[in-house]
C-alpha cells in the first residue's frame, strides 16, 4: 500500500505508463488490424466482396437499438448492451477529470460531461457489468460458452469504472491509492483491448461489414 501510494509510483503510472498504455493500445490495435487485413488479402475471397453501401446498411441496422429482429427479441439485453457501450466510451472520453489532464498535458480541450451525469453513467457501466456477470452465471446458453477469460475481461472493464467511482466519491481507500489504481486499471484495459476479446471493439466493424456485404451485394438478402 505504501508503495502504491508513493510519489514515484504515481509519477510512473500517470506519466510514462500512460504513454506505454496508449502506445500499446494504438500500435497493438494497428498491428492486429493490419494482420487481419493482410491475411484477408491472402484468403482472396473476402475483400473482393466488400461493399461500402451494404457494409453501412448492415452496420446501421445493428447499431440501432431494436433495429434488428434479434435486438427486438431481447429487449433487456438490447437496452443494457447499448447503454453499456455508450457509457463505456462516452464517460471516459468526456469526463471532466480526464479532460483536465488532456488540457494540462497537451493544451487541448473538448466538451465535458456534467459531473453528476458522468457519475451516473459510471454507475450504469458497473450495473451493466453486473448484468453481464449474472447473465453468464444464470443463462444456460451463455454459461455454456463462458470461460475464465470472459470473467477476466469483464473485470478488466469493470475495475477502471469501479475505482474511478470510488475515487470520485472518496470511498473505502485513500483517494490517492484509488486514483493510482484507477489509472493503472484504465491502462490495463487500454492495453488489453488489442490482445483480448475486447478486440471485438476493433474487429466487429469488419465482421459486420463483411457479412453485410455478402448478404447485401452477393445474396440480395437482409442480415438483420
Amino acid at each position: 500500500m505504501k508503495f502504491i501510494m508513493s510519489e514515484g509510483f504515481y509519477a510512473f503510472v500517470s506519466g510514462p505508463m500512460v504513454w506505454v498504455a496508449f502506445l500499446v493500445f494504438i500500435f497493438g490495435s494497428a498491428y492486429r488490424v493490419y494482420k487481419i487485413i493482410s491475411g484477408l488479402k491472402k484468403e482472396a475471397v473476402v475483400l473482393p466482396y466488400m461493399s461500402f453501401k451494404y457494409s453501412l446498411r448492415s452496420i446501421a441496422h445493428w447499431a440501432t437499438p431494436f433495429g434488428t429482429v434479434n435486438w427486438r427479441r431481447h429487449p433487456i439485453m438490447t437496452v443494457v448492451t447499448f447503454l453499456f457501450h455508450f457509457c463505456l466510451i462516452v464517460t471516459p472520453v468526456f469526463l471532466l477529470a480526464h479532460n483536465i489532464l488532456w488540457l494540462r498535458a497537451w493544451h487541448i480541450k473538448w466538451w465535458t460531461l456534467p459531473e453528476g451525469l458522468a457519475d451516473f453513467m459510471t454507475l450504469l457501466v458497473m450495473l451493466c457489468c453486473l448484468f453481464f456477470l449474472l447473465r453468464r452465471l444464470i443463462e444456460r446458453e451463455v454459461k455454456f460458452v463462458t470461460y475464465p477469460s470472459d470473467f477476466f475481461i469483464l473485470t478488466i472493464v469493470f475495475l477502471p469504472f469501479f475505482t474511478g467511482f470510488l475515487a470520485y466519491h472518496q470511498l473505502f481507500l485513500p483517494y490517492k491509492a484509488l486514483i493510482i489504481t484507477h489509472i493503472l486499471f484504465g491502462e490495463i484495459m487500454l492495453m488489453a483491448i488489442p490482445f483480448t476479446r475486447l478486440a471485438h471493439m476493433l474487429f466487429s466493424v469488419f465482421t459486420r461489414a463483411y457479412t453485410g456485404s455478402e448478404f447485401g451485394m452477393v445474396r440480395h438478402a437482409r442480415d438483420w
Binding site: A44, V45, P48, M217, V218
Partner: protein, 465 residues
C-alpha cells in the same frame, strides 16, 4: 502396363498432329480443323438446300449440322409417329429408326449418327448401320483425323468403347468419356474395374478406377482418373489421378509422377512427349512439366496448349482473384477480364494467340433468365492481349488464316449470326451459322449458314466479309 506398351508399340507413328487431342471438345457438331484442298473454293454462292421445305415435309426437324466443306446439310427428322431418320440435302435415308441422335460429319462428308432400332443402339454412317449393336451407345466422336469414329457403349451390363465398329473385348463396371488417339487407331477411357456395393466408401478409397487403352486396363488402380490425353504420336496416354482422397498426381502410361499435388488439371503432351499439367502447390496454381513447376503461380491456371511448332505454351490464367487472361510461356497478357477467358488458339505459324473473353460491367448482377443485362456478359475475341473493340452476345472459337494475319469467328448479335473478321462484323446475317473456314491460301473464307430458310455455302474473298 506391359500390355499397354506392347500395344502402343504396335502402332506405327504417323505424321505429328499439331495440337494434342482434347477429345471431349470434339463431341460437338464438328468444325473442321483443317480446310481441305479439295473444297470448292471457286463457287461464290451455292444454294445447297431449302431447309424450310423440310419443315413441311417432316413432322419434326431437329437442329441442323453441316459438313466441313459445306456441301451437305443434315438434320434428324421425324418421318411419322415414333420413327426418325436423317435428312441430308433434302433427301432422307431409306431406313428409319426409333431414335436418332448426334448427327455429325466426317471429313469425307459422310454423315454419322447414333441410331436405335429394335431397342438396339449402333452407329449409322450415311444410312448404313455398324454390324455391332449395343444396349446403349453415346458420346459419338470423330477422331482429329476426321475419319475414325468412336462411341461409349453398354452391353449386357458391361461398359466399354467401340472404335470403328470394333468394340473393346473387355467390359467394365463403368466407363466414362472417350479419348481417341490423333491417328484414330486407338481409344482410351477412364474405367471402373469393378462395381461397389452401396456406400462402400472403403472399397472406393482402395481404388477401382484406372485407364484402359483399347480395352486393356493399366495394372494400377486409383481413387479417381480424369482428363486423359494422347500424345501427338498416339503412342502415349496421360491422365490426372487422385491417388488417395488428398493427393493428386499425373500418370503417364500407368506410371505416376513422383510428385504429388493438392490438385491437378488435365495433362497435355508436347511434340517431344514431355507432359505438362496445371498443378496446385501451396502458393497457388502453376504449370508443371514432367512433375516440376515451370511457371510462376497464379490464382488459377487451366489446361495449356502447345503452339503448332511445339515451342510455346499458352494457357488461361487468373493473375488475381476474379481476373482472367492468357499467359504465353508463363507471362500473362496485361489486360484481364472479369468473367472468364476460354482456351487459347495459336495461329498456324505459332506466332499469335487468340482467345474468347467475357466481360461484365456489373458482374454482381446475375440478372434475368430471359434477358441480357446491359453491359454484362459481353463476349469478344482477344488477339495477342488486345480485345476487339466490338463485343457480342456470344462468340465462337477464333479461326486464324494460314498466315496468321486474320482472325475470324462466328458471332451472335441480337439473335442473328455473322462472321466477324479482325474485329469487324460481316454484313451478311444468318439465322443459323457455322464457324468460318479459311482457304488453304488464306485469301478466301468459306461461310456456311442458313438465311430465310435456305442453306447457302458462300466462298468470299476475305476482304468482302
Amino acid at each position: 502396363m506391359e500390355a499397354t506398351s506392347k500395344l502402343l508399340e504396335q502402332v506405327q507413328p504417323i505424321s505429328q498432329q499439331s495440337v494434342p487431342s482434347s477429345s471431349y471438345k470434339e463431341a460437338l457438331p464438328a468444325t473442321p480443323k483443317k480446310a481441305g484442298d479439295s473444297f470448292d473454293w471457286d463457287t461464290r454462292k451455292k444454294l445447297i438446300a431449302n431447309t424450310d421445305e423440310w419443315k413441311s415435309k417432316f413432322s419434326e426437324v431437329r437442329p441442323f449440322n453441316v459438313s466441313g466443306d459445306g456441301e451437305k446439310i443434315g438434320s434428324v427428322v421425324q418421318t411419322n409417329e415414333e420413327t426418325f431418320t436423317v435428312c441430308l440435302n433434302g433427301k432422307q435415308w431409306e431406313e428409319t429408326y426409333e431414335k436418332v441422335w448426334t448427327l455429325k460429319f466426317k471429313n469425307d462428308g459422310k454423315a454419322v449418327c447414333l441410331v436405335m432400332k429394335d431397342n438396339a443402339w449402333t452407329v449409322a454412317v450415311d444410312g448404313l448401320q455398324w454390324k455391332e449393336k449395343f444396349d446403349y451407345a453415346w458420346n459419338l466422336q470423330i477422331a482429329l483425323n476426321g475419319r475414325d469414329i468412336g462411341i461409349n457403349i453398354k452391353k449386357d451390363d458391361h461398359y466399354g468403347v467401340c472404335l470403328d465398329d470394333k468394340p473393346w473385348t473387355q467390359g467394365f463396371a463403368d466407363v466414362r468419356n472417350l479419348f481417341i488417339s490423333p491417328d484414330g487407331t486407338m481409344s482410351a477411357a477412364s474405367v471402373a474395374i469393378k462395381g461397389l456395393a452401396e456406400a462402400d466408401i472403403f472399397g472406393f478409397q482402395k481404388g477401382v478406377w484406372t485407364v484402359a487403352v483399347d480395352g486393356t486396363p493399366w495394372d494400377k488402380n486409383f481413387v479417381n482418373v480424369w482428363g486423359l490425353a494422347f500424345s501427338p504420336d498416339s503412342r502415349h496416354v496421360a491422365a490426372e489421378t487422385r491417388i488417395n482422397l488428398y493427393d493428386y498426381a499425373i500418370v503417364v502410361d500407368g506410371i505416376l509422377w513422383p510428385q504429388t499435388f493438392k490438385c491437378v488439371c488435365e495433362p497435355r503432351f508436347s511434340t517431344k512427349n514431355n507432359v505438362i499439367a496445371p498443378v496446385k502447390i501451396p502458393q497457388g496454381w502453376t504449370l508443371a512439366m514432367d512433375g516440376k513447376p515451370i511457371w510462376k503461380t497464379f490464382v488459377q491456371l487451366w489446361p495449356p496448349k502447345f503452339s503448332p511448332d511445339g515451342k510455346k505454351i499458352a494457357a488461361v490464367v487468373a493473375p488475381d482473384f476474379g481476373r482472367w487472361t492468357i499467359a504465353v510461356d508463363g507471362i500473362p497478357w496485361k489486360q484481364t477480364f472479369s468473367d472468364t477467358v476460354l482456351d487459347p488458339v495459336f495461329s498456324p505459324d505459332s506466332k499469335r494467340v487468340a482467345a474468347i473473353a467475357k466481360e461484365s460491367k456489373d458482374p454482381m448482377n446475375m440478372g434475368s433468365s430471359l434477358h441480357s443485362i446491359k453491359g454484362n456478359d459481353r463476349w469478344t475475341i482477344v488477339v495477342d492481349g488486345i480485345p476487339w473493340e466490338q463485343d457480342f452476345d456470344m462468340i465462337w472459337d477464333p479461326v486464324f488464316s494460314p498466315d496468321g494475319s486474320m482472325v475470324a469467328a462466328k458471332a451472335e448479335i441480337n439473335g442473328k449470326y455473322c462472321v466477324v473478321a479482325n474485329g469487324k462484323a460481316g454484313k451478311k446475317m444468318f439465322d443459323t451459322l457455322w464457324s468460318p473456314v479459311f482457304s488453304p491460301g488464306g485469301d478466301k473464307l468459306l461461310i456456311r449458314g442458313i438465311q430465310d430458310g435456305k442453306y447457302y455455302r458462300y466462298v468470299l474473298p476475305r476482304e468482302e466479309i
